[in-house]
Symmetry: C3
Subunit: 272 residues, 3 copies
Amino acid sequence: MKQILEAVRRQAPLVHSITNYVTVNDCANMLLACGASPIMADDIDEVEEITSLCQGLNLNIGTLNRNTIPAMLAAGKKANELNRPVVLDPVGAGASRLRTETALALLGEVRLTVLRGNISEIKTLALGSGTTKGVDADLADQVTETALDGAVRFAKDFARRSGAVIAITGAIDIVADGEKAYCIRNGHPMMGRVTGTGCQLSALTAAFLAANPGVPLEAAAAAVCAMGLCGELAHQRLGHLDGNAAYRNLILDAMYQLTPAQLEEGANYEVR
Amino acid sequence: MKQILEAVRRQAPLVHSITNYVTVNDCANMLLACGASPIMADDIDEVEEITSLCQGLNLNIGTLNRNTIPAMLAAGKKANELNRPVVLDPVGAGASRLRTETALALLGEVRLTVLRGNISEIKTLALGSGTTKGVDADLADQVTETALDGAVRFAKDFARRSGAVIAITGAIDIVADGEKAYCIRNGHPMMGRVTGTGCQLSALTAAFLAANPGVPLEAAAAAVCAMGLCGELAHQRLGHLDGNAAYRNLILDAMYQLTPAQLEEGANYEVR
Amino acid sequence: MKQILEAVRRQAPLVHSITNYVTVNDCANMLLACGASPIMADDIDEVEEITSLCQGLNLNIGTLNRNTIPAMLAAGKKANELNRPVVLDPVGAGASRLRTETALALLGEVRLTVLRGNISEIKTLALGSGTTKGVDADLADQVTETALDGAVRFAKDFARRSGAVIAITGAIDIVADGEKAYCIRNGHPMMGRVTGTGCQLSALTAAFLAANPGVPLEAAAAAVCAMGLCGELAHQRLGHLDGNAAYRNLILDAMYQLTPAQLEEGANYEVR
């Protein structure tokens, strides 16, 4: 994990994000916190050029609209052409036909490096159905210790079929390619009370991939561990009157201060 | 007031917001802080589905555009059809023809549960004229102790005519239906130096309504008291070097920590 | 410098921003922090009216799109007609043809009061070429002590040709009209790790211009000094676990607390 973060810090990759306007500022600051550099652009007339300038691409379908959908497709194809990593965060897939179809179109037309979402979103895309309740995972779907083996099998299978590393985040996170799955127990439940921690993780993942070509599984797992670890470190700093606004800031600050050695030591995962 | 907040915490209502991109992140975090769950979606191709998933709808016309206007109308009508509460925040009504007309169209075509704005915005909609200076209330319009009786009469009258609970926020807040008005003296003047405290209150109101069907006046009054009380509690935590950024965070944190008992005790209102 | 800030605090100018959705919330809070009042509006059907209400206009091409480009042109022309100051922040000019052409179109069709960007962006517009790497200045272009004289000459020349005050921000900031250049050594390198400090400065500049008609060079220089000084003051308050999120908040808070006397004393500039 250590070298993965070292590479991000050393290379300061430029990451293009086409992302929702709810959490875009946090995504930009998260990219800066980890040592990368953000650029946001979503007009069809410039996305290909911007993607070409960048070392990685982050697509996020929260607050998608008819203008940004073709822009995401065009940017994704350009990134493929240039062999740059692409992350897709299918926010709310299953919550509307537009989101499900857009995510499926991106999955079909763009070669994704990593697909990262909660279990409801990922299931929607894998099975063509789901029980997505808004943008949060449905309780019935959540990955618990008892359901872990089945979820790992599901993730590996979908990774094999899709060609993407599948990152399912929740109480236990699973990051899998067709052969190998990281089961990650970093993080804190309060992260769900801060808007955009998932979006920030997707942006972070794009940066980790960009600086570590050739090892997408390890880079994605390191990003998930790093985000979760920052959630833990930040939670320790919360005072008794603090809430989700303080927590949001402390998570970003933890990433800013995170050292490769800290990540190495704090990453809490097993491989299945 | 106590039970109103308890219901929000217990039910964690999902709230759909079509809102401006200036303060949308704060609205999402405010919804999470109070115990609700946010989803933002503004494309005409998905808003009806998203509204259908949700227990409440929050419409806010700051940074409206020709794509989001029909989306707001469609979402509002769908919420009406499903009997879900709808809040309208007519940001800047009176500042441009587009905003005034859009707010009037929403008022005409959607059955609003609560209309919440500053006195200039509400007057614009009630009287078809106003003296709106940008997005802040005009000084000449502000509700002071001496003008309170007249403002209460105005609010009740407009509530009767429009069928919506009217929430006019300012130095003294008025929340009225046709019969009864809460005059609320919570809050702190420095809240006006944080962008989006009004937008956050509108989102909060939608959550309070969603978790408390059948008592829109009480739910809206509780939301206004809660927001103002959080403004007071947050202000007490400000250090001598702190400014509006610290205050923004502390208000959200106060909402995260606010207990029903605290709200019951801290709510400062009279009924006229 | 003192009187410039005093005028902002006394007049509380209303500033219209058409700006990117990444940093718009910070721009609004920065305007409030300095004592001004923000309004954001980008639909072609209302921008002229909104500009007419305001004392200053701030145009920022980050996340521009085909709807906002004509809105920026229309707002700019209206501001010209009414003799209100206009700031252009050409975020990412040089990074895509769309951004370069849009910035050049604004430069050609709108009489700008101040053009503020990093050296790569400004060079792109002055010379029709550049080496922009995303939204940050290219290392090869950065203004260092040894390159300062050349950069000052370049800024004065471009100011003369364009009729705008040219503000080039970086390690050393240059604010120049055709005759006179302020070389400013306020600020802290860590400001580059917070998204949107440049955007915030552009919004701030519009407020300073709006409250100080007739002295655009002095007003722009004061804004640049104020922003840099707040970056310094904020940096002194950072704890050893703090990162870019804390810093973002502390910079805004420093502006909220900044006194005219502090600015007078802390402004670190020479005139060439």
